[in-house]
């Protein structure tokens, strides 16, 4: 059963377990600060396919294949998979997962999708609706650029506040109890489903600023509901506020008397060296926090470096059409508490 704590937090009594996880990234990500943590690198931006959209689908396919393998279960044993992505109509997920024969529930949380999928899969395990459930997402620099901004061939200039969409995918298999005794037990303890937050930011090249208030709301709700504090955690990860959003989040939380600076890392700032790699304000895209979670973060939990962490993924719920129509950028952030036991 799931208990509600306070206004927004949910608590998993039986604590679904992470049975397997995998990450796959592109060439640029393989040259960044956490390059040694990923499971697989794809050096060809087309992954041998005809289009970038097909290449992105292939990232999901490979990530799920690896995660199922690491969980030591077959696709038939996985009762459902939650996935979504940034492409129109989430085609990366639909086409990437088409051939598995696993019941599919498409999610749309923009760059918050990994946390959202993880919450949904956890609820399914906890309720008995699934014995094993997958949670995943992806993004691809080339497919995202041409859909959201300009054709790559145009060579558009990026603003200093712009973030760089990560080419990558992360996949997690959750279960009641892992059939794989090789890895350290990691469970989902609590979660917060975020509210849509919109402080009126309209600059589509400054997603960090648009999303920071949503992250602040969700983090504040969690600490208020549970009575926990940043000191209770080995690390608090957000994804992906980048340099601009991270600074804003610290300022916003300060007004609420919450200081996470000592414990905070942002996936968008972990995956690239912004100066060396010319990625401006940092990494972004669903695949950013997903691939960092499914590599650096969970592997550090496996080794015991981290015992208790918070993972807060943020998403900007805009489209090129809504921006062209002068709308501001509604944002959202979902939180997941993961513990190694």
């Amino acid at each position: 059963m799931i208990n509600r704590i306070g206004q927004y937090t949910i608590e998993f009594e039986n604590q679904p377990e992470i049975c397997g996880y995998a990450s796959i990234v592109g060439k640029k990500e393989s040259e960044g600060p956490i390059k040694e943590w990923f499971d697989k690198i794809v050096y060809d931006s087309h992954s041998g396919k005809d289009t970038w959209e097909q290449a992105e689908s292939d990232l999901q396919k490979q990530a799920l294949d690896m995660a199922l393998g690491k969980a030591k279960i077959k696709s038939n044993d996985c009762n459902m998979v939650f996935s979504g992505d940034l492409l129109n109509q989430c085609i990366s997920s639909g086409f990437g997962l088409r051939d598995f024969g696993i019941p599919f529930l498409g999610q749309y949380g923009a760059c918050s999708t990994m946390a959202q999928s993880l919450i949904m899969a956890s609820v399914m395990i906890e309720s008995g609706a699934a014995r094993y459930a997958g949670a995943m997402t992806s993004s691809h620099f080339c497919s995202a650029e041409r859909q959201y901004r300009f054709p790559l061939e145009y060579g558009g200039q990026r603003t200093p506040t712009a973030q760089w969409t990560v080419t990558g995918s992360g996949s997690i298999i959750l279960g009641e109890k892992s059939p794989n005794p090789d890895t350290r037990c990691k469970v989902i303890k609590r979660a917060v489903i975020g509210k849509i937050t919109d402080l009126g930011v309209t600059d589509a090249n400054n997603m960090g600023a648009a999303m920071a208030p949503a992250a602040c709301e969700t983090i504040k709700s969690f600490f208020l509901d549970t009575g926990a504090s940043p000191d209770d955690y080995d690390a608090i990860f957000t994804g992906d506020l980048g340099a601009v959003g991270t600074k804003l989040l610290h300022e916003l939380l300060e007004k609420e008397n919450i200081d996470i600076r000592n414990k905070h890392k942002d996936c968008g700032l972990m995956i690239f060296d912004n100066k060396q790699q010319d990625t401006h304000a940092g990494g972004s895209g669903c695949g950013c926090s997903a691939s960092v979670l499914c590599s650096y973060i969970l592997k550090n939990m496996d080794s015991g470096n981290y015992n208790k962490i918070l993972f807060i993924a943020t998403g900007a719920l805009m489209s090129p059409t809504s921006c062209q129509q002068g709308e501001s950028i509604p944002s959202i952030a979902h939180l997941v508490e993961i513990e190694g036991i």
Copy 2:
């Protein structure tokens, strides 16, 4: 708790209850065969807004407002809402629900979204994660046409197999127990989460043909898992196969020795008079099955005309980009069993 039955069916032990529901549609839908069943008609395709996208968002806003009102709860009491739509990045849902302050989980199931949202909300209630949860979706003829096909001003010719996107929204509030004693109790009993099915149809103007195999798979799984038969139901509703898809579904099910013809109605064939209203193969869009469910179907359960029904919403998981790249159309269908008690 939720029990798994057979390979694909899940069963809700406590059977979440429909506490309130509402439908809103446009002018054309208000002239069709089930016109008297809708809660509200919007005669202006812009709903007084500047753009069709904003008008579609407003449909969701109004539908949720009405459903909350009918459930006799405040938005604060609703722990989360599941919604999605056909627009790129699901902006109709994001912007439509922005101001409610209700935790939001964006769904993407194309025209299967109403069934998907309903399953997700049911799982949340059953697991204890929510006391009240919303399930909804929308579509809008004008915003869908210009995004998926041609600008309306172009006056493109429609093929005979084409379906007409419904302008409408449907919203349901689920809870453990309805606080509203005025209406007859209607509960969610069982559900099937669909697999992605793709038989290779590539004609984006023939969605019915692409989706019929997915509907067949899901219906077959349900009857196989549960031992139930079409005779156990007062009616079996699909949404939205239209004329072409309905015929194909009957043929496909016949090969499995399942005959639903006597009990079957398709929401896409219920909402328009295809000859009189020039809607070719019938209605479509997330808002079609959602608005038919939240009007004709549930009101007929309220009056006791139906006691036990199946609602199977189908979705085509393609995008204009995937079609232009020559991909076939992967489809999905989710099933919900609803009973009046």
